[in-house]
């Protein structure tokens, strides 16, 4: 059944073990920038985990000119056929939050694959006792695009909520 990683910003400490766990699993080494989940801290104290939100209309998959991206039916994750990806960046441009990442050191685009249904990031977050990332069932009524916004927009909203100042004062 498709799953989704719920992210609770209030509980995120910014320890970034999700990035460690993700890159160890996918890259075999610690590589924060190549992690499929990344915790942004544009403003000190405002830590925002950002990863693919599996929008129900999958704009990234639709935008891919080489059909390198496809939806994994069992988990709902976006998968990358690495041989087909030409790093054109169309998927990034189509994503509401520009979440997929293209790195010069990598041959294809990086997108969360939900670890086949048992995501490492959520496991490590639970082991740490923060539970900022929790695996839930994907429910058709949820507005997943709310979580697909870019880190800067989420940060600005969160500044208003937590610091109660105009985001321009700190960002």
């Amino acid at each position: 059944m498709p799953i989704w990683i719920f992210r609770e910003y209030d509980r995120c400490s910014g320890c970034r073990y999700c990035e460690v766990a993700c890159s160890l699993k996918h890259e075999g080494i610690i590589w924060p920038e190549a992690s499929r989940i990344r915790v942004f801290e544009y403003v000190p104290g405002i830590t925002i985990p950002v990863l693919c939100s599996q929008c129900t209309d999958y704009p990234c998959v639709q935008a891919c000119p080489t059909k390198a991206l496809y939806v994994d039916e069992s988990t709902g994750a976006v998968r990358v056929d690495e041989g087909k990806c030409i790093k054109c960046g169309k998927c990034v441009e189509a994503c509401p939050g520009r979440i997929p990442r293209i790195l010069p050191q990598k041959d294809s685009v990086i997108i969360c694959d939900l670890c086949g249904g048992d995501p490492e990031c959520a496991k490590v977050c639970r082991a740490l006792g923060f539970n900022a990332l929790v695996v839930v069932d994907k429910w058709p009524g949820t507005h997943y695009k709310l979580y697909a916004r870019d880190a800067e927009k989420i940060t600005r909203d969160y500044i208003k909520k937590l610091y109660k100042v105009d985001p321009e004062e700190v960002m």
Binding site: V20, L24, W31, A34, F40, E41, P44, R101, Q105, K164
Partner: protein
Amino acid sequence: MPYGFTGKFVEVDLSSSKVRVVDVRRDLYRKFLGGRGLGSWILWERLGEVWEGLDPYSPDNLLIVLTGPLTGYIAGVRLAITGKSPQSGGTVGSTIASEVGLELKCSGYDGLIVSGKAKDPVYIFIHDDKVEVRDASKVWGKGIRETHKLLLRDVLPELRKTPRFGEPKEPAMIYIGPAGENLCRFAAIEGKYAHAAAYGSYGSVMGSKNLKAIVVKGTGPLPPVYDVVKLKELIYKAIELVPKKAPRLRIWGTGQGPWRYGRDLSSIPVRNWQEEYWVEKSYSQYDLEVYDWVKRYWADYGCPLCCMKVTVLHRNGETVITDAPDYELLAYEGSNLDVWDVRDIAYLIWCGEELGFDMINAGNVLGFVAELFERGILTKDDLGFEVKWGDVKAFERLLKMIANKEGIGKVLAEGTYRAALKISEMKGLKPEEVLKYAVQAKGIGIGAHGIRSGLDYPPISYVTSVQGGDHQSVAMLPLDAPPIVNEVWASLADSAVICQFNMLGGLDLVFDALRAVTGWNISKEEWVNEDAKRILTLQRVLLLLGGPDVYWDPRVHDDNPPRFYEPLPSGPKKGQAPTKQDIEKLKKDYYKALGWDELGIPTEDTIKQLGLTGLEKALVRIRKRLGI
């Protein structure tokens, strides 16, 4: 290249804006690991010949920013900063929780060496292999929060210059405030809003180089490790063990400290250490729970513990955003100044950190001033206003005067030790008449852990420490005494460059991780008997070389401040204090354990055994200066 290292340092000469990448000799990594150890050796190699005459504020001093073999791999990212210290004249491995350590390694460098002095204010921007010296005139003079904002705005467009590649994560930064720019001898290097590399005053060294900030973004992976399977296992072990060994730190941070050190252990500074005990006005862990202004967890990369919390206070029309006060600052801006409302303390801490102060040493200076005022040595005429115990407004005003070096601020900016000497001169008093209120060791204000009760830190903690008053690296006997603040273990944390609190998961975990990352089989015994001794002996020699404005004579300055010989006036250990004879004996034992002679000067044999070839030359100079 040894596993876990990039093998390269980037060097920036600010006088010429020239950048070069240098290889580091492999044997140095094994001998000194990184951080504090390697930094001290680089300083000796490059500046050893001229050490005593070298003004820490001259362009010839180096500012060295280092990672270590464990940085980024396990438990709590950290960054070590060193150079010739304007406080001690030696070296301090000053560390800060900062992702700059991670980003440097991901950029392909184990460290950064800054030399020279820029003509105008600049900052250094490192983005993978691109290293630039950039104009900082827009941020010069600005406080910490504004500096962070403006620097981010300055570099983000560049990091985002290819939007179709996705959003790059923010860079990591360290910077100084006005206190560093104006060369206050207790200016810190700050990170985020409330992190600081404080002891050693490298903030003022940055200021002397016209260097406002260092901004780093690396997009590569961490260097390959010897055994990644084992490392992964240890990472998860640390996640499980560390928070469980210290659950109180996750819940309250070190803000739990005032009760523990004030009530139970009687080692908290109260009114410039006139007392070390109090109960009735106590606030501590349970109080912090009900403060709705403590908002949220706040860890840095790789920290399973999370002792920090985000604090937001709306006060006097300003929004204070800082760390929920930790023990050291609760003590130094609280009980030490007779300030007892925890919101006042948080506010005062925030004011000082915005200005870029080391708030332990700032609290030490403010307490010293308040006592001199109480005793009539400093008057309203000297200060411009009254500085009474508990007067938050007066302390805030004083901090601003010090940061800008206005009026008496110019004298106080020199730190407790040097200010005491200047004030005695100003007032026509003998130095000891003012020094008796200065609670410092080797020019560095002592951290908020007293030694008199005998319940907390041991009596020679600060007497023979190579980092003076640094409460996180103190002398202990036996050499392998377990507390993590023992300088034998502190030198491990500061050289492998990880967070000391994360050593609470057990030292075995640290040595296992060191093995998994580097492949070197370093045992605990080997560390105590060789590696730690090597680093401490090197630091000791540089400390004894000292200069150029103050020099240390072990016969005089390897000692506690006079206040620590005054019997405790209150608390469970009322009347207690160490005697000079106790200290003399412990000193000698400590020197002997480290292979130093009866005056605490390392012997030629020790130097040879530890492989510190070349350092013998310095011994001759030290003996000559001391006339022995």
